[in-house]
Symmetry: C2
Subunit: 458 residues, 2 copies
């Protein structure tokens, strides 16, 4: 172990200029790591500090803290202990004791490292931990990504024991006559992990005596690959993402053109960004998203756990939930800007000159109108006489031709005069009430982006 | 099952224009698949053919063949049976009965498909097969790549039952009152698989009742990713490969610049190409290869199972075995081309004019020489007076300066006159016996690529 550890230290590139912070629980793994670092570490004991979390899961948890403190005193290594009410934390954040403990430890180590200027935080995870975690996640059903193991060096974290088995660590502890504390919380907080350690792994060793090494190696490969995927995804993401104004809008064409393995990861990344995490998202959900992209219908929707997805023509729209499109029915008066539900404004003014018409401005012959005008969202059965066309058309068909998205179809403002649609706001005026060739009083309707421009227009 | 199967057929895109060849062992899986295809297949029984391999593993294996033949006769589906001596094949090719059987079946189906013009070969693998195979490979220790599962559609192969569990298949068989044969070879040929099916999987289900679905889904994801990696590797390979004249020469700089996950795969691909397969190659071997690339020394070697690897400056050289560089000691006579061990020729001629010198042609003052000249491979302690330099130098240091590869250092031909090196052939002449300024008899030595040019030069 000694020789191997020295090699690992050398290979790691962690040098004497690195101040190290070591997390010590008092268990055999961290006691052995402390001993090894103290003897053969890059700094041979100098620039080494120890942190211990007194997790208060058991009333006698301070005894572990005392043990670690004593051990450090004997070695002359500075030691900081912090008491954190992990059970309270677990209740508060609705986490398991194990998860709450892990998070508290992580926060503590990062904080201490920042305060003491340590450039590496050293952890005592070993190969069997890696194998157990792999099985735990394999069985639990976390996604493919969850199978990625811990890396020996990962940012500030350093795990120099990752290549050693529990057996080797115990043998070293025995040979060095080290003493340590047994974490009696194991049995309660990590029941599943213990079952895997004591029942499943030994049984799998009956199929393959090297199983632990094998799983740890796989874990490590997955970790490498995961890092590749992260990088690859970051490279293609700007291509995939159209905008993130309201949820995420992804480019369908780009997604469809990706290799299926990459496409699935891009879809998962989209869901992750919308939800913040991926709990409960399974591969079947991603497959469903993928078939949404390939479906014949250009507008389909899908409810995933904590995520709503919709194909909208050449876009995939992801949101935490289905957008609300409340119906509305308003009254438009002359010279009074009307605030639409989407925040834009509609303004009606009189004018005697010709005005140029556009998507956002139309003019009608005043004499044909009756005030006030009605402004409402579409209703089933609405019909409309688009300017430039002969006769009426179903509004729905008009909107299909315009390739309006489902949500726009439900919320596009209509301006009506005596029950007849005058203007599908932003899209097309009707053929009704055209302005006369000779000078006359006209009503000009303008769509404005915000309150400022509405006031200014007046 | 019926509805799900119809959907799968639809989604698969396998249409009525596809002639199908179905492999039927007579077991419940293939009997159910035959029934489903016959009822709901894209061709509803038409354009459907059955193939059966009578594997002769048991004396009564022909009974299975008869059963399949009868079943097909009843349905009016053409059936071809072929007897193959699988146990003999296994002995001959030193394979397990299971592997030999699988290969024989595969060959048979591909041959029949080609003969009958079938465009799809349909197989009855289901979700539990997928999960079992995953565990089998996870435990066996095949590489990361081995975890890639079967795909529903993969080239000519179609596995429409991959989404169904064994339970569903049995339930369907029961509901349809189908009969089938039990493959009694199971217990012998697939002992491990059976242990996984009957012991391990039920136990894992105690941790996660959905384990089978979970593993099958992972398998499928790995299959997708594997396909991505294949494609990605094919894209970068031309960059990585320098040449394959003698084993493989890979570009070290390119490899080092790759993402570690990609680098490992590229290294594995190199080993695969050199060996033909990857049996016994583990991740640690690839890691060793990788550290060869990063080592300080520009010339290091490594023996892997069935593959020899050497860093040679900016190249990684992979060969099935270490190249042999036998020492040699030859005699060079005037006007008689001398064949060197590497196949090139050395020619000594007299000349009275000036000749231009180059890497492959040098001239010496004849009066300073004594015939015949010696041509040999380098010996330890050789010294040499390179032209243009003052005094002698160790030949070894000269070769280090020239960045000669290890194998070249051992095999570069030296031309000697009375024990003194005249020419390090192809690299540098010595300062000895320079040609006089005035006309004189010179000896011209020329290095020629082959016998043809040697004859022509005379």
């Amino acid at each position: 172990v000694e020789t191997a550890f020295r090699k690992i230290v050398q290979r790691s590139g962690v040098g004497a200029d690195n101040a190290l912070l070591l997390g010590v629980s008092g268990g055999v793994d961290s006691v052995v790591l402390l001993d090894l670092l103290w003897r053969f570490g890059p700094t041979e004991g100098r620039c080494l500090q120890v942190a211990h979390l007194d997790h208060q899961i058991r009333p006698q948890s301070h005894q572990d803290a005392d043990f670690v403190q004593d051990l450090c005193d004997k070695l002359g290594v500075p030691c900081r202990v912090e008491r954190i009410d992990v059970p309270g934390l677990a209740r508060e954040r609705r986490l398991s004791l194990e998860t709450a403990g892990r998070e508290a430890r992580r926060d503590l180590l990062l904080r201490f490292a920042a305060e003491t200027g340590a450039s590496r935080i050293v952890l005592a995870h070993h190969r069997d931990d890696q194998a157990e975690t792999f099985l735990l996640r394999l069985l639990r059903g976390t996604g493919r990504t969850g199978l990625a193991g811990m890396a020996e060096l990962q940012g500030i974290w350093w795990r120099p024991l990752l290549g050693f088995s529990r057996e080797q660590i115990l043998a070293y502890a025995g040979a060095r006559k080290l003493s340590w504390v047994e974490d009696s919380t194991n049995a309660e907080t990590a029941y599943r992990r213990n079952r895997i350690r004591h029942n499943l792994l030994p049984e799998l060793a009956g199929y393959n005596p090297q199983i632990s090494r094998r799983l740890a190696s796989l874990s490590q490969q997955f970790q490498l690959e995961e890092d590749f995927w992260r990088q690859h995804l970051a490279e293609i993401w700007p291509e995939v993402l159209l905008n993130q104004e309201d949820g995420l809008r992804l480019r369908r064409q780009v997604l469809v053109g990706l290799h299926p393995a990459v496409k699935m990861r891009a879809l998962r990344e989209g869901v992750r960004r919308v939800r913040g995490d991926l709990h409960g998202i399974e591969f079947v959900h991603l497959e469903a998203l993928s078939s949404l992209l390939q479906a014949k219908s250009p507008q389909l929707e899908l409810d995933l756990p904590g995520c709503w997805a919709a194909r909208r023509y050449d876009q995939l729209w992801l949101r935490p939930s289905k957008p609300e499109t409340a119906a509305f029915n308003l009254v438009l008066q002359l010279d009074k800007p009307l605030r639409l539900p989407d925040g834009r404004f509609l303004l009606a003014r009189l004018c005697e000159e010709n005005v140029s018409e556009s998507d956002i401005q139309v003019a009608f012959e005043l004499s044909a109108l009756e005030f006030p005008l009605q402004v409402r969202s579409p209703l089933a059965g609405d019909r409309f006489w688009p300017s430039g066309m002969v006769g009426r058309k179903k509004l729905k068909n008009f909107m299909i031709d315009m390739k309006l998205e489902q949500e726009q179809r439900q919320s596009v403002p209509l301006v009506l005069n005596r029950g007849e649609i005058l203007w599908v706001v932003g899209y097309r005026r009707s053929a009704l009430a055209p302005v006369a060739d000779q000078p006359s009083q006209r009503l000009v309707l303008t769509l404005l982006q915000g309150a400022d421009s509405a006031t200014k227009a007046l």
